[in-house]
Symmetry: C3
Subunit: 318 residues, 3 copies
Amino acid sequence: MSGQFRADGSLRHLLTLEDLPRPLIERLLERAERFVRPLGARPPASRVLEGCTVANLFTEPSTRTRVSFELAAKRLGADVVNLEVQLSSRVKGESMLDTVYTLQSLHVDAMVIRDAEIGVPATVAAHVADHVSILSAGEAHVDHPTQGLLDALTVRQHKSRFDTLSIAIIGDLRHSRVARSAWHVFRALGVSDLRIVAPPALMPPAGEFEGCSRHTRLESGLPQADVVMMLRIQKERMAQVELPDADRYYASYGLTPERLALARPDAIVMHPQPMNRGVEIASAVADGPRSVIRDQVRNGVAVRMAVLAEVLAWRSAA
Amino acid sequence: MSGQFRADGSLRHLLTLEDLPRPLIERLLERAERFVRPLGARPPASRVLEGCTVANLFTEPSTRTRVSFELAAKRLGADVVNLEVQLSSRVKGESMLDTVYTLQSLHVDAMVIRDAEIGVPATVAAHVADHVSILSAGEAHVDHPTQGLLDALTVRQHKSRFDTLSIAIIGDLRHSRVARSAWHVFRALGVSDLRIVAPPALMPPAGEFEGCSRHTRLESGLPQADVVMMLRIQKERMAQVELPDADRYYASYGLTPERLALARPDAIVMHPQPMNRGVEIASAVADGPRSVIRDQVRNGVAVRMAVLAEVLAWRSAA
Amino acid sequence: MSGQFRADGSLRHLLTLEDLPRPLIERLLERAERFVRPLGARPPASRVLEGCTVANLFTEPSTRTRVSFELAAKRLGADVVNLEVQLSSRVKGESMLDTVYTLQSLHVDAMVIRDAEIGVPATVAAHVADHVSILSAGEAHVDHPTQGLLDALTVRQHKSRFDTLSIAIIGDLRHSRVARSAWHVFRALGVSDLRIVAPPALMPPAGEFEGCSRHTRLESGLPQADVVMMLRIQKERMAQVELPDADRYYASYGLTPERLALARPDAIVMHPQPMNRGVEIASAVADGPRSVIRDQVRNGVAVRMAVLAEVLAWRSAA
């Protein structure tokens, strides 16, 4: 995936965090931090991307990630167009590329792509002209790089250093792009104690999540954790993998105040949303004093501003 | 509903006109009047809301009210995002609030909400952070406050004073949020002769529309009216309430030129749109010299600019 | 269709190229040329339409033409609203006009309309107020004027003069608005050798495409052509008109490198997109050195900027 970088070493695309060097991740987080404002403050405004065009290509239009990217681009002064399009559903790969070439010819500088099929962002990135950047906004179950960055930024705001942290990622690890991007970024940042906690049916295949300890019980994965990352459990998946129903899932894996007490007293609780309250997380935890879930959302737009500014820096300098 | 105001007495939300004091309504109308331009003139432009973000949350995207709010916000310099979302259809109330909290964390300053379920705007308003404003763009059959204000502005442009006016509201009063907001605003502005005219099946319950005279025949409700407000009759409702069909409705309640002659010679005719021509109103009336229906649309964007500027004044001053 | 012009002779609407005088076409092309930038360059930016409002009324939102118009308007500084609306599907003509009158009352200056029914743009243009401009973005099978202009601009960039050119338009001529607008513009620009090539079932009726030679075989229509314009073949139409299937169509009418060799060595290949690769055109041709298909897209936004600037010039000067 070295295809994410330009010949001069600068970041061109953001498709995965898997091979991002730690100094680049840290620079992105610092850049994002400068875009963070407290709730209620006016968001940062800039015209650094004035004259640039960002296209959001989402299979469905009303997602929080689309809105987050849209506001990030607008707050940097870019023009934004939204397209509801499922690139991978086009009959042939070439047809997908025709859509992309069209946007490129319309002087779109960055395309933000969400697609349910593996490889779509990378295929697009491999074919667009040199000046176009591709940003993945969620690729199948494998990558969600801006989510990984916002998760890292959120941890960074609450914990002084990464290497001594214990981070537990809990839930449907098998199908989660959020978990994979978290794993990439926390590993790069030197987190030594990474734990994944899932029922056996939702545990990822053996070769994945290298370096993480595996736990099938909360009582084993949670103790003394500094960071508790909950994942969304998709109800439609429960039937497929012969999971117990929502109530029984909650009984075994739901994050209740009692279970959270197993973690460190200053542990933070994260969730990528949307939440199934009463399934993977209790409302008392989601809305409680250790929850940083809303911070994650706020950090998301800051991270997306940082990434857009980074990949389009050559243009704003021109 | 005192929840619409801040501790300092300023307007924070606009959910209903029911408890708005007359001076505030008058100030909003005056403020809106300054945003009115004749057809063909360039609309007023301002950057007073630059750096502010307005989110439109509509269950369907292509309504005139959505476009009116979108243009109002843009012409004040705000960033606008549109979401097609039915807040009340989310499985639980908390899930609805999670959507709202997410937008709040994205630094959305004002949310414009249309929802078919009673109480959604007020529930949202009761939960968002202090700096966020909620504007109802139509709530079930109970409130449509910006419509009430634009109706009042339209009347104000044509009649010198409110207290001596006779206003007849005609049609499906029972199911009409437009009628209820009109009743709120005209009562607050001191209109003494308010009449509601509907077939018995579409007459609102007895406790509602206090102070209005009730008429089941146009010939009784129209004479000497200064203002004739027609309502949209929804055809799908006709079957439900055992109404006659469209032709028979028109025969009894359609506003024809002949019937309009019962009103004052200088009466104005209003309709919130979309119109069923040939059902509740004749085209000769809708397009005739006494129709101010297009003025209502023009006034709508002016009123929405005034409301946005009012509730976000603290931010533009900051 | 003199209704496209104002009393002073300036262009007000763009509904068809059929009666556009050659000097006006040439001025529009020159104006558009100034908006063209090479791929990768920053697109031209201007605030000439600041304070103007453009509404896109498309029956489906995610078309390249909608995005092209949206970016053209934004890059001139206009506010843009998108509506997904099928004007002709409204129950009555008057209801269609009510939608239009509403937009007009919202101070929309230009409406960009795509509709599958003949006459919709002209009907709207005949009814809107004097200061409103209507631009057709594709009308049934009869007109697609901005496509015709971008096709002419593309030819102009590669060929020194029009009158000596041989242009072959190939495919489903019968149902193609692209072909009709191309015919209008090339005829106006003095192209002497215009050929249409189609299977008999897709050949337009006898009275149409006056002045064009007709060919039912590529081998007859292609030789020595300077410009080869391919049209999209709609698969759903194949069944209707008893066409052979896609493979057999390709065997007889698909533009392969071998067949392209019949045209002049410096011939250019055009296609309005979306392409059916392997049906009407081979990928080796679509992506080959003589293809100017992506130039067409780039020119499309330039042409739409030129047209918007032309019809709204009175406002930007005001």
